[in-house]
Amino acid sequence: MGGEHELLLGGARDPDAIATRAIDDVLRIERKYSRFRDDSVVAAINRAAGGAPVAIDAETAALLGYARTCFEQSEGRFDVTAGALARAWDFGGKPTRRPVAAVLRDALAHVGFGDVEWDASHVRLPRVGMAIDFGGIGKEYAADRVATIAQEAGARHGLVNLGGDVRAWGGRPDGSAWRIGIRHPREERALASVALADGAVATSGDYERFVEIGGIRHCHIIDATTGEPVRAWQSMSVIAGLAIVAGSYSTIAMLMQDRAEAFLANAAVRWLGVDAGGAQRGSFV
């Protein structure tokens, strides 16, 4: 799990012990769902692609259920099986040119959550080369679980920030709301700030991982229906009750491109975006 993480707790008798339990759970989720670890559940599922079904537990099935909602609500743009597209673009390798059309076509043929065979106890990826990646969900899920673990252990006030996805509860110990800054997508400063006692803020942006090819920024947020990186927004921040919900809205809004505003208006959430031209849209007010 990349990025900077932060955990603030208040109102508890033993914050260190609570923090340890919460962090242990974050590490547990990381181990269980990282696609970079050979011993993870995700690695086992991906290794068996095209082969026999893999047994899964209730938590994994619930994550697949959540992934289905994201897939359906985004009309297929948000797809946890889009790993082949990320490989085709290979942002880590700092490419200097686009993948050729045949490579992209082949990658798209290995994407399709709708084809995944799964139920409450098993999952099977139907084609060799298909891969699942909970990267767009797992971090936010972990943040919500940190909030739950800490609250159940007695921390009445808290804030957890996992790589920019923030969940807060109970306000600050002095009774005021937490103040959460939103990063400017192009400058080293805050774009805005939001006061939040209970809730979550998540931001997706084209600045997290990208390459410039021919002067055009290609970011890591890829529309799984087209294989193309999105370009309509530099960043999108959404407030919701849960980090996982805020994260889904912010990422899918990026993927919805020109239709993002209508999508978010339907959701009746507060949001703040920076469009491709650098103009602020939406409002946290």
């Binding site: 208040g10 359906e72 739950t148 306000g171 919900v245 339907n266």
Partner: protein, 394 residues
């Protein structure tokens, strides 16, 4: 799937593949599919936020209430009421709850809402002390509680016992409640001896609390009370009420928390059918707005309306009285509508202290009745009450 440009794909209208999203576009305002899906994930919301189970903290609360009512040209009743409440967990799986109340009442009538001039005694000062205690045992999926209550006034003694059981689902999203209470009252007015000033009643309750989402909760309770004995007002001449009474009440409350505004909308409705004949409806709405520094401000409005009892007769007194038949002129049993406006300010401190101030203003008129005609010839009746409370969790 061709590698078409993203903008082209985005501009396509609803087709077979996207129909679901089009439906979402219509339903989005009232249904959040992401939230629904997220709630199926283990541990994203504290179980305690979803439903009640064993409290892990105790609570101590002290409240002072000051009540006053009046009619045009006349101040009537004043009540001052300090009360104390304590709840504490003990022995792992038990809680104890207890409260004490002391009322000091003074004014023109021993009955708050009595408007029948001349039928009351002279100025009255009375005191009421009341207390109750309850022990609840918690199991993994249910709890059982037993309680007793006692109330004493100069001319009235009440004793009650209760049993209740609660059962909740494993996800704690649904709680069912069952309750049973028996009450025995003894009425012995100072003005005259009653042949049999006793009253007995049984109360039954079934209720459900359902979490619809982390921000929506609905609760619905059905209560039935049946009693027999002395229901008349011993301080009124010619007051003769039936010897038994059955009351069926259905109450539903719905709370919705607006995460964006950090506020909770509280809606309530109660329907009450009374064998005396006066059915009533109560509508409540309140908005609990969280503010900086731990403050919460809650404005509220309540509308109440009731029909007259079958044996109620309006002025001039004693119109409608027939010896041997049920009769009352008690305006509390008349037909009227009433509005209550209230404002409550709460401040919660980090160390568990909580201070609350509230004020409510009540006004009732015969012609504010809905679902039927209001009783005529009665003066408007007004009341106000202020309350201050301090509580601490421990």
């Amino acid at each position: 799937m061709a590698a078409i440009d993203g903008e082209v794909a985005a501009a396509q209208p609803c087709d077979a593949a996207t129909r679901r999203s089009c439906e979402f576009a219509r339903d989005g305002a009232r249904l959040n599919p992401f939230l629904t899906a997220a709630l199926l994930l283990p541990g994203v919301v504290p179980a305690a936020a979803l439903a009640q189970s064993m409290p892990d903290q105790g609570l101590f609360s002290l409240q002072y209430l000051d009540y006053r009512d009046w009619q045009p040209g006349a101040a009537r009743m004043t009540v001052r009421n300090p009360s104390l409440y304590v709840m504490t967990p003990f022995a792992e799986r038990y809680t104890f709850e207890g409260s004490l109340v002391y009322d000091a009442m003074s004014g023109a009538s021993p009955l708050w809402f009595d408007t029948l001039s001349g039928a009351s005694g002279l100025g009255v000062t009375d005191y009421r002390t009341a207390g109750d205690a309850k022990v609840t045992r918690y199991f993994d999926r249910y709890s059982i509680g037993a309680g007793v209550a006692y109330s004493h006034e100069r001319d009235f003694i009440s004793r009650a016992g209760s049993l209740d059981a609660r059962w909740w689902t494993a996800d704690k999203n649904t709680t069912l409640a069952f309750g049973f209470a028996g009450e025995s009252d003894y009425i012995h007015p100072s003005a005259r001896e009653l042949d049999n000033g006793r009253r007995h009643s049984l109360d039954f309750l079934v209720g459900i609390t359902q979490n619809l989402s982390p921000v929506d909760i609905v609760q619905s309770n059905l209560t039935y009370a049946t009693g027999h004995g002395y229901y008349s007002d011993p301080y009124k001449t010619l007051d003769q009420r039936p010897g038994e009474r059955r009351v069926l009440a259905w109450q539903t409350r719905y709370n919705h928390h607006f995460t964006v505004a950090d506020a909770t909308l509280q809606l309530g409705y109660r329907f009450l059918a009374d064998s005396f004949g006066g059915d009533s409806h109560t509508f409540d709405v309140a908005w609990a707005q969280a503010l900086p520094q731990g403050f919460t401000l809650t404005p509220s409005v309540r509308y109440y309306t009731q029909g007259a009892a079958d044996f109620w007769f309006g002025p001039p007194f004693p119109q409608g009285f027939v010896n041997g038949q049920d009769y009352t002129a008690d305006t509390r049993l008349s037909a009227f509508g009433a509005w209550t406006a209230g404002l409550r300010l709460t401040r919660t401190f980090a160390d568990g202290w909580r201070v609350e101030l509230s004020g409510d203003f009540y006004r009732q008129r015969g012609d504010w009745r809905i679902f039927g005609g209001g009783s005529e010839g009665l003066l408007p009746f007004s009341a106000r009450w202020f309350a201050a409370s301090v509580s601490k969790t421990f």
